[in-house]
Every structure is written in structure tokens, then in C-alpha cells.
Symmetry: C2
Subunit: 255 residues, 2 copies
DNA sequence: CTACAGCCTGACGTAACGTCAGACTCAAGC
DNA sequence: GCTTGAGTCTGACGTTACGTCAGGCTGTAG
């Protein structure tokens, strides 16, 4: 009658296979976040492969800093398939890795300064702490997007869960920050550094339109309206940054 | 009278400079973990550069998963200078990055399997979750090192704080795991992969002897006694793995 | 002189489990 | 057939690292 085929595992066993604790499984069960596929007559939890896939998704979403409560709602409304989960995981981990690379560069800068006996570079140190803390900010969107703008995204809301969108916004914030820095540093749009930024830019767009023309259209509509946004409303990136990326992309095509 | 020179900052300001919250500063103050260099007559906290350096160290040690309580004791007994802090930070972050790289490889493996419609690869998935959780294990040493072995390390205890040693043990565990895997996979000791492992091996040794001959001697003493360890006592790595690294190092010298 | 932003000290709240306690299950051994 | 030990269950309270008020000073800009 039931579709739960394949081997079923008891709590301890499943925990060992997935690298979490039994208590965590209990916890997720009570929260309704991960209910085991079955139970024995005696009430022992039995976990199957479907539970395994779900645990993967939970781990990923937890990694990007979402609280379990939100993860629950998210997975209720929107079950990702395995391929999408893996894509999301790669996205997230690559972002994390870039953050660590930035921290390493900041540390190296700081080390050079220390080695030459110079003054402490507060900016570099701050960057290190920021990366090291790496707490779930998530306030980026709340801060920068008013209700007004959120309404415009409503059309997309039905397709992509908002939490994932917000995570994307954080990725954007990070990338935009680097681009703005490159612009004010006078980096050549044809340079390798600029090319790398442009590549990430288009990749992020691709990740969030996901090949879906409807979403792509929604994005275009939103950004086409950029000129009409209230002036008090902070723009996500400067016109210079936008121009920079366009030039970099153009240079790429030429080269 | 006092040595606290340079600019002093009030809580909010200092928090902004370092990327933490005011509440965090209060918290650390109450714990005695980071007492501000001074106070105004009205009781306002004033933070200077010394506090900044200390906050750096706290952030680093927190990053490797130590609870604040242990960090406190650690910093009381053993204040690292800025250069050492930075070296430790780089060590730690590089380790983290390697872990992310492993996760990426695992994800790519999983993606290939999924793309070809194969069976889910439990091992790859487990690795992903492990890396993603990345919780403070720290039980590695407790599990693998009996009191007997710990006594032998007593001579080193006076020089390097035990928490840092334990973190090193975790790094070792990670590296050893990879070496053992390479051995059982029949990897050629002269291959690039083996060379990379050998390089990390010697680097880890360097990091923990730190150029200090006394520590180096302590290590030698401990491992020279490896043959005499009780047989029930699990060895940190197999003789095959040790031989593998020796061969790889030898191949490196020849090449 | 009065706002009002910023600081203080408790004190309670929270997230994601850890850690018992007390009772049940079950395959193995005597 | 009974015990034993490893594993499981459900509460329920503990813990870490803060978040979030509440109630009350401070200090400076208008």
C-alpha cells in the first residue's frame, strides 16, 4: 500500500549514515520538520531514502542560516528535487568559499602590515571578523527593500520561495559590494578581475532566472522600473557599477 | 599613568568598527572575556586597540568551535601576539576552505550520479552533510587519546594551550583520513595527489612544532614510543599511511 | 531646558539541540 | 523462560551565545 520501499533504518543507524545525532532526529520529528517514513509496532522510528533527501535539504537551508521554523514552511510549500538541492548546495558552498578567500586576502594584507610594523589596518581586520562570524544576516533585504518593492516581486513569489530569493539577495549584495569597490579602485573593465566579476554576475542572474522565462521577465520588469523608484529608496547598485559590468561583458565578447 | 593610548571608542562605535553587536560586547564584558580598557566617569565603556586585538583572537577561537568559557581560560594563560593570531587565523581558514572543497567534490560526484539516474551515493551525501554541519566536534581527542597518552604530552602542555593542540588533532584526523583513503585506493606515492598530501603533512608538523625545538623533541618522543603503545589503544594512523607519506616525501626529493 | 540619541544594568526570551530520567523493546545467551 | 544489555521512546530540564525589552542615567544640539 505504501510507497516507502528500499531499506529502512532505525534512528541510531540513520543518524550514523547521515552524520547527525539521534537527538537531532527527535528534534526535527517533534518540529514536524522531518517525520520518519514509518514506525514499527513498538513505535521505533524508521527512516528511508525520502527522509534522507529531505535531511539533505534541511542541512543546506540550515547552512545558509535559515531557522528551522522557516525551513519547515519552506519545505512544506516547496519541495526541491534532488538535482535542485545539489545545485543550491553548490551555489551556497561556492559563496562560502569566496568569502573565505576574501578573508584570506584580508589576513595577508594584515600580515604584511604587521610585518612592516605599520599601523593596524582596521578595515582588513573588520573584514576578517565579519567573515569569521558569518552569522545569518538576512537583514539585507529587510533593510533595502520596502513593502512597495516587495509587491513588485509578488509575481515571482509564487514560483521561488522568498527565503531562497533573500539568500540570493545576499549573494547579490556581496557581489555588488565587490563591483563597487572595483569601480572606485578604477579597475579596467577588460581586466581579468573585471571579467571574473562579470562572469559571477551573469551566473547569479542565471541561477535565479533558472532558465524560466516567466521569472526572467519578472526581473526585467522590476529593473526596467529602476528609474522610477522613489529617490529616497536606495538603489541596489550604482549606475557606475551597472555600466562597469556592461563594459566588462562587452569586452569579453570582443576579446 | 595608564598605557591605554590611541583613540578610545564607545560601545556602539567600537561595535561598528569590528562588526559585532553592542550586546555581544556587554556579554563578553560580563564573562570577563573582554573587559574594556577604560570607562568614563559615568560608566560608559571605552575600547582601545588592545581590546580590538583581543576581539580578533576571540573571533578566531570561536570560529574553530571553542566555547567562550574555554576561550577565556585560554586567553588568560596564554596571550597570543598579533602575528601569531594572524597565523592561526590563516591556518584555520585554510582548513575550512579545504573542507568546503571536499564538499564541492562530493556534490559534483553526487550530481554526476543523479544525472546518470544512478543510485544515491550515501557516502557522498554523508560527506556533504558532515561538512555542512561543521559543528564543533572536539571529541576526537577525547575519544582517541587516553589519559596515559595525555600524560606524555604534559611536557608540551606548558608551551602550547591544549585547546589549540586539540584543534590540531582534528586537522590531523582530517588529513590522516585522506591519506588512508589514498593508500587503500592504491594512489601512487609519486603522484601529484600524494605530493599534495605529503606537503600538507609536513606543513602541519611545521605549524605545531612552530620552529620550537623543544616541542619538536616532545613530538618525536611521543611518536618514537608508538610501538610501545598498548595494542588496544587505537593508533592515530596506520603503518601503511606512515610509509606512504615517507615514500611520497622521498619521491619529492628525488623528483 | 528639553529632546533625543546613546549608554547602563538587570532580567527574561530564544534556537537548536544536549543531557538525564524512567519506562519499553528485543535479540542473544544461559 | 528469564535475564541482560544495547537500543528506543517520551517528557523535561539544562546550555550556549546571545536577542530583546524595561527602567533609568548621560550628554549635547537646538
Amino acid at each position: 500500500m505504501n510507497k516507502t520501499m528500499g531499506t529502512l533504518h532505525r534512528a541510531r543507524e540513520f543518524a550514523g549514515l547521515t552524520g547527525v545525532t539521534v537527538r537531532t532526529l527527535h528534534h526535527y520529528d517533534r518540529l514536524g520538520l522531518l517525520k520518519p517514513s514509518g514506525r514499527t509496532a513498538a513505535g521505533y522510528r524508521l527512516y528511508g531514502e525520502r527522509d534522507f533527501a529531505r535531511l539533505q535539504q534541511i542541512a543546506t537551508l540550515k547552512f545558509i542560516g535559515l531557522p528551522l521554523k522557516q525551513i519547515k514552511g519552506l519545505l512544506e510549500r516547496n519541495t526541491l528535487d534532488l538535482a535542485a538541492t545539489l545545485r543550491l548546495q553548490r551555489e551556497v558552498i561556492e559563496g562560502q568559499r569566496r568569502r573565505l578567500d576574501m578573508a584570506l586576502r584580508a589576513i595577508e594584507r594584515a600580515e604584511r602590515v604587521v610585518a612592516t610594523g605599520g599601523e593596524p589596518d582596521w578595515e582588513a581586520f573588520k573584514k576578517i571578523i565579519e567573515v569569521i562570524n558569518m552569522q545569518n544576516d538576512m537583514e539585507w533585504t529587510d533593510k533595502y527593500y520596502s513593502e512597495e518593492a516587495k509587491e513588485k516581486l509578488a509575481g515571482m513569489r509564487d514560483r521561488i520561495p522568498p527565503e531562497v530569493i533573500e539568500q540570493g539577495q545576499r549573494d547579490w549584495a556581496e557581489l555588488i559590494g565587490e563591483v563597487e569597490a572595483a569601480v572606485s579602485a578604477g579597475v579596467d573593465p577588460a581586466s581579468e578581475r573585471a571579467q571574473s566579476l562579470a562572469a559571477r554576475w551573469s551566473k547569479l542572474i542565471g541561477a535565479f532566472t533558472g532558465g524560466d522565462p516567466a521569472i526572467s521577465e519578472g526581473l526585467n520588469k522590476l529593473y526596467a522600473d529602476k528609474a522610477n523608484w522613489p529617490s529616497a529608496f536606495p538603489k541596489p547598485y550604482s549606475d557606475e557599477a551597472g555600466a562597469f559590468i556592461c563594459q566588462a561583458a562587452a569586452a569579453h565578447k570582443k576579446g
